[in-house]
Structures are given as C-alpha cells and as structure tokens.
C-alpha cells in the first residue's frame, strides 16, 4: 500500500518535552534531559499511522523565532525554509505563559500548526486547570493535551495531525493584532512587498512584522531588492512614531503586544490554585542553591560520582578480571600453534579483555552523569559555578558541555552549540578534552588500583579529574585573555523544576552506553590490538633465539643447585622476550620516542601505548596489556595490574605521571575530527595539539620529579 506522507515538525521552547514526545511517537531514542538545549540538531523519524506515513522532525528548542544561539537557528531555518506540512507546537503545560510566545509567532506565520499541551500530568498535579476549548478559540489552533511521560494523548495527537492535514477539522485561524500604530506600519510595509513578485510566495505580513522586529535575516533578504528604499523609509517612520508616542521602539512594542495577548488568554483560560504550595523543587533548592551549602554540595555531587564509579565498580571489575583469567586458562591448552596462542592470549584476551573489564566502571559513570542530566541539577550546577567560570572568561552554561565531557568529548563538543558567542564557544570546545572522558577512566582505574591502596585510589582518581578541570579553566583564561578576546555572552538561563528520571530511561541509556562500549571493544579496539600484536612480534630475530638457545645450554651445563638454574632460566626467558620486543617494529618506534619521554618516567613500551592511544584512549590500556603480556613469563597470572606492580621500571611516580599525561595529551582522532568540524578550520586544532602535548609533558615532568622526591 502506498502511504500518504505527512511531514510534521515538533517545535517548542527548550525543555518542553519535544524529544520525549518524539521518542514516544516514533520509537526513537533521542537524548532527553532536564535542561535547556539537550537537542542541538534536527532528528528525523517516522511512524506509519493508518494510511499515512507521518515523518516527524525533532528540532532544538527555541524561545522565539528570532534566533539567538546556533542551535536555535536550525529550528528557525527548518520552519521557514523547509516548510513542513504541519508543525506541532509542543507546550510545557505548567509553564504555559512563556511557551505561548512562540505560539503567537507561529500564528503570524501562516503555517498549519496544532499544539500539544505537554506535561499534562504535571499540570494536574499542580492543580492548574486549563480551559482547552477556550484557548483553542483564542489561539486559532487545535490543542491536544499530552504527556510524553505517562503516554497520555498520543493517539489523539496522531488523529488530530491527520485531520488537520486533511482539513477535516478546521478551526478559524485567529490573527493576533497589534496596537494601531504598529498595525498601520505592518500594513504599509506588507502592501509594498505584496506588489513585488519576489515576495509573492512569502507571507508579506510576516515579513513586515519581522522587519519591524529588526530581524537580521529578513533584512538581508529584502535589502537586495529596489523596494528596500521605500521599505526603509517606512521602517524609519515607524521607529520615529514609536519613540514619539511610547518612548520605545517597534520591536519592543510588538513583543509587548504579544505578551499582552498571552496575558489575556492566560487570564481567560488558566486557573491556578488559590495558594501556591511550596514544591519539592523549592525545598531541594533551599539546600542545593544555598549560599553556604551550594558550593560544597556541588563538589560533593561530583566527588560522589567518581567515588561510586570506583568503589562500586571495583568488585565487579574483579569478577570480570577473574572471568577473563579463567577463559584464558581454559583456552590456552587448546591452542597448539604458538603463534595463534600468542595472538589469542597476549593479543586479544590481554588487549580486548583488558578493556572490557572496565565496563562496570564506565557504566556507573554514565549512570551518574545521566542522573545529573535528567534530574535538573545541570542548570543548578551552572548557576552555582557561573561566577567561577566567569572569572576564567567562560560562561556558566559552558559548564554543561564540560560535565558531558566526563562521559565523552564528542557529544560535549557538539553541545557547545548552545553557546551564542563564537569565542566562548571556541574556548569551550578547546578545553573540553581536559575534562577527562570515560575512555580515559580505564587508564586511571588500572594505575590507581595497581599502585595505591583501595581507599586512596578513588581519591587519586578524583585528584586527576580535578587537575583536568583546573587545567581547563586556566587554559580558558589564557585563551580568552590572548587570542579570543571578546566580551562574554550574557547569562540568562531557566532553572527547570527537578524531575525524577524514570528508572527505565536511566537503565535504557546505560544499556545503550554499555553496548557501545562493548561494540567499540569488539571492533576498533580488537583491530588495534591485532595490529599492535603484529607490530610488536615482527620482525622476529632468529639471532636472539640462537643466542638464548646457547645461553640456556650454558646454564644447564654450569654447576649449581636446581633452584638456581631455574631462576637463571627464567631471567633468561624474560630477557629474550624483551630483546625480541625491542627488535620488533613497535619496539624500534618506541626506542625512537624514548629519549623524549624518558625525563617524565616512561620507557619505550609506554611510548608505544601513548601513540596507539591516539586511536582511542582505551587502546592505551590494551596496548600495555599486550606488550606487557608478551614480555611476561607467566608468574603474575596475566593480570596487567599485577604485572605492572612487579615491573621494576614501573613505580608510583611513573603511574602518576602517566595518568597526568593521558589526561592532558592529544584527544582521540574521533574527537579531533569533531573539533575540526565544529570549528571549521584545521589551524586552531593543530595549534591546539601542539599546545596540549607541551602542556602534558611539562605537567607530567613536574609530577614525576616531585613524586620521585616525595614518595
């Protein structure tokens, strides 16, 4: 059956539940979070409904159609240029008054739209009553009460979409009229535009209103045509008039008239309970945003997330570790061919397994972060920390992508689109990689766990994260006071009420993240591990083998107890292995790098791990797993942590230095790619890479040298 297609855009204020609704309607899994600016790109999805295929587009939230930040421009351009068949204006029910501003602008647009009065569950809970029928009449559009959370009104919404599309139910479109002086100006300008064939398709009245609102894009559009001369005169006339009569300007008057219309509609249709009860949000904020407690609470929340990640994660990690140990022990006798055995045991199990054991930690970290995002604390954190951020030339809102960066830099870099000022945005993009991402977590867990007692390990990790934040802030300050000088953007941000994240959505997100991690381990990391195994095994030197052979014969023949001989043979084996490694391709590359990283405590093996770590930060652990497993003679049951602990060249100071280096040095290729895409040029990205390398080296040097002195 050929289905009729309807394209429907979901538009509305930030945080009104568009993505939630989109997910319910199309079965998609777009990210949902309780703060403004979660969605930053348009997303498409569809649903087959009867004889129709409804194509939904989820758009970034916007407060009005005169856009402000880059992601809001996406929405406006979509609505104006792509002209969907229908717009569903999603309204945040409990916050109707502000949400209706966008509705009034849609009313002016001469576009088919209907409204979804979302979060109807919260409306009822708060005891607010809304006269939907009357509101429909006033707004001139259909209104369907919905709840994306409780899945109320979804069918009714779909039915309305089809009926409005087929014009089966009409509602008399209502026109919002402004005060007479503005109407006169609008009519005059619209009249001029109507006579030009360029503007025939566009709605002249809408263009006129936008011109009076000094909308830059519409200005540019009209300016190209000769009619502009006349239009400009009319605009100036309107400006003079507004100044004379109201001591104001047309833009202000238009906004005021819209608000007056909304005020009237609210008065007529919405009843609030007599007495406003204090909400849970009020009580939580009394503590969380308290003048004295605010900052400690903030620090505690972040600390708690990392504490949980480590302490709750480590027993689970132990289980996985022994599981991989058992697999390795079970598989080993089955593999007769020594090459295959080495690939499987030293390569795949040590490398991929070495990364997979951190799955519990990664999961806990993401659960913690998604709780922050879903609960509504994000905006609060930005509020509490804005002053600090401002000091360092950033914006409180920059903090939201920074927190996201603890999970992964890529979405975090994209999330900076919510920042309006290009310099703020660039500065934030450049410091996000200092916010230690989830992929670096395995490195810390491994090293902190191996070299510090369990009660200290979590705090060592937390200190590394803190160092990242400090470096990020200082770098921002440096950037903003040198190359990116510019006044920073204003801070006007809504604090949404707290909402309990549903267990289902948190678990679902966690599962998604876990699957992604496993997939990455099975593809990218597996590939990397096989390559690393190969380059650290070949070329193989027969000369070293022959030498080892003769040595072992010599030991056998020499005088001495059986135990002495055994020890000597073992030492020889170890030496042979590491000579072979050094002879291999990886070993030679490592040896080239070694002089550079020697001062910060790394030998050539770590050097290799750092190079391969550019592919993805987990690969640092895999590479070390493989290289150290190859050199290991089997005493420490193959567990990387144990091998490292027994390795004489690896000390606490090395561990600390390595953690700092991994924290700061060049981000993975995927993140670099996204940086380039968001910035648009290679030059800043390349300069940035040089900067972080130098910085990582210097800080590691300081840490390593002082750790050698102190520890």
């Amino acid at each position: 059956m050929q289905r009729k297609e309807i394209s429907v855009a979901l538009a509305g204020n930030p945080n009104c539940g568009k993505s939630s609704l989109f997910n319910v309607l199309t079965g998609a899994h777009q990210k949902v979070g309780n703060f403004s600016g979660v969605t930053i790109e348009k997303h498409e999805g569809h649903l087959d409904y009867g004889a129709y295929r409804i194509r939904f587009v989820d758009l970034p939230g916007t407060y009005s159609l005169t856009p402000y930040s880059p992601e809001e421009i996406v929405t406006r351009n979509y609505l104006i240029d792509e002209r969907p068949d229908l717009v569903v204006n999603v309204l945040e029910g409990p916050n109707l008054e502000r949400n209706l501003l966008l509705t009034t602008q849609l009313m002016e647009m001469n576009i088919d739209f209907l409204a979804a009065l979302n979060m109807i569950d919260e409306v009822e809970e708060k005891g607010i009553s809304i006269d939907v029928k009357q509101l429909q009449r006033l707004l001139g559009c259909h209104i369907v009460p919905t709840s994306a959370k409780k899945k109320i009104g979804i069918d009714s919404l779909l039915a309305h979409i089809v009926r409005v599309y087929e014009k089966n139910i009409e509602i008399r479109k209502n026109k919002l009229s402004f005060r007479p002086e503005i109407e006169e100006a609008v009519d005059a300008i619209a009249g001029m535009l109507k006579r030009e064939k360029e503007f025939e398709a566009a709605d002249p009245r809408w263009l006129a209103i936008k011109l009076l609102e000094s909308d830059r894009e519409v200005y540019h559009r009209v300016q190209q045509y000769p009619v502009w001369v006349k239009v400009e005169l009319a605009l100036q006339e309107a400006l003079r008039e507004a100044a004379k009569l109201y001591d104001s300007d047309p833009e202000m008057l238009i906004t005021e008239d819209r608000h007056a219309f909304i005020r009237g509609a609210m008065k007529e249709c919405v009843r609030f309970p007599e007495e406003r009860k204090s909400t849970v949000t009020d009580y939580i904020d009394m503590v969380v945003l308290n003048r004295v407690l605010g900052l400690p609470v903030f620090l505690f929340v972040v600390w708690a997330i990392f504490q949980i990640t480590f302490t709750l994660g480590s027993p689970l990690m132990d289980i996985l570790e022994s599981l991989f140990g058992a697999i390795s022990a079970a598989v080993e006798p089955l593999l007769v061919n020594p090459t295959v055995r080495s690939i499987v045991i030293d390569g795949i199990i040590a490398g991929v397994g070495g990364v997979l054991v951190f799955l519990p930690n990664i999961l806990l970290l993401f659960i913690g972060l998604s709780f922050l995002e879903a609960s509504g604390y994000m905006a609060r954190a930005a509020f509490v920390i804005d002053k600090v951020m401002h000091r360092f030339g950033l914006h409180g809102k920059s903090f939201i992508p920074m927190i996201t960066g603890f999970g992964c830099s890529i979405p975090a870099i994209m999330a900076t689109r919510t920042l309006k000022s290009p310099t703020d945005r660039l500065a934030t993009i450049l410091i996000i990689p200092f916010m230690s991402c989830g992929a670096k977590l395995p490195v810390y867990v491994l090293l902190a766990g191996a070299f510090f007692p369990p009660d200290v390990a979590a705090n060592v990790m937390f200190a590394v994260y803190l160092l990242g934040v400090v470096v990020a802030l200082l770098s921002a300050k440096l950037l903003k006071s040198t190359v990116l000088k510019c006044d920073s953007e204003p801070f006007v941000m809504e604090l949404p009420p707290y909402r309990w994240p549903t267990l289902h959505s948190v678990l679902f997100q966690a599962r998604l993240k876990a699957m992604m991690y496993v997939k990455k381990a099975g593809t990218l990391i597996l590939g990397a591990v096989v390559i690393i195994w190969a380059v650290s095994n070949y070329p193989h030197s027969d000369e070293i083998d022959r030498w080892a052979e003769s040595e072992s014969v010599r030991i056998e023949k020499s005088a001495g107890s059986a135990a002495d001989k055994k020890a000597a043979i073992e030492a020889l084996e170890y030496r042979t292995q590491s000579l072979q490694l050094q002879h291999s391709f990886a070993g030679r590359v490592g040896k080239v790098i070694e002089p550079v990283i020697k001062p910060i405590g790394f030998d050539w093996r770590i050097g290799i791990a750092l190079v391969t770590g550019l592919a993805a930060k987990e690969v640092v652990v895999s590479t070390m797993g493989t290289i150290y497993a190859l050199a290991d003679t089997g005493e420490s049951s193959g567990e990387l942590a144990a091998i490292l602990k027994n390795d004489p060249s690896f000390s606490r100071a090395t561990a600390l230095s390595l953690m700092v280096f991994v924290l700061l040095y060049i981000p993975c290729v995927a993140a670099i790619g996204v940086m380039k895409k968001e910035i648009g040029q290679w030059r800043p990205v390349l300069l940035y890479s040089v900067y972080v390398l130098a910085l990582a080296w210097m800080l590691s040097f300081i840490i390593y040298r002082s750790a050698l002195l102190i520890l």
Binding site: Y63, S64, T66, Y68, P94, N95, E97, R98, L101, I128, S214, E251, M252, T255, E256, H259, R263, M266, K267, V270, R271, F272, P273, E274, E275, R276, S278, T279, T281, D282, Y283, D285, M286, L289, N290, R291, V292, L293, G294, L295, A379, F383, V384, D386, K387, V388, H390, G396, K420, P490, F491, V492, M493, E494, L495, P496, P497
Partner: protein
C-alpha cells in the same frame, strides 16, 4: 534591578540592555509590567535567581543592570514563595 535584595518583590519598568540580551530577556517574558521576586543569589554572589510567571530564571547582575524596576514589596527570606495577593503575575496565576 541588580540592587535588589533576596526576598524583594519588584515590577519591571523598562528593559534597556544591548539588543541581543534584551531580546532574550523579553523572550523569557520579563517585560514591562512583569512582577517578580528575588529568590536567591548564587553562593559566590552572582548570578541571581528570580521567580515569575511560574518559572525560575537565573541571570547575572550585569544583565540585571539593564532592567529597571520599582520595588513593590518584600517577603521574608525569599524561599519558598507563597502566592502574593496584589501581583497576579508574581505567583503565576490570576485569582
């Protein structure tokens, strides 16, 4: 507006900020005639949080300076706010 204390209630009389800022403030619904209440100031002294038309908004003092207000009253500590009798917009609802 930046001089208001926690707990103060006020009415907006004019919004005179730089254009982009002003637009954002207006879009948020903070226009001439809106009554609001100062709920709190952030731990480090900036930004501040206000409540009006049923929503919580935070803005920096620098932005607040562009908004002229006249103080209409004062109720205690500012948190949590109960419905006030005179200003319909203040608690987000008409009687």
């Amino acid at each position: 507006m930046s001089e208001l204390q926690v707990g103060d209630k006020a009415e907006v009389t004019a919004v005179k900020a730089e254009q982009a800022v002003r637009r954002r403030i207006l879009d948020m619904g903070l226009i001439k005639g809106t009554c609001f209440k100062v709920l709190r100031v952030a731990p480090l002294g900036d930004p501040m949080e206000i409540f009006f038309k049923g929503m919580y908004l935070s803005l920096r003092k620098a932005e607040a300076e562009g908004i002229s207000v006249h103080k209409t009253g004062r109720t205690g500590d500012g948190v949590p706010m109960s419905c006030d009798k005179e200003g319909i917009t203040c608690c987000g609802g008409a009687k």
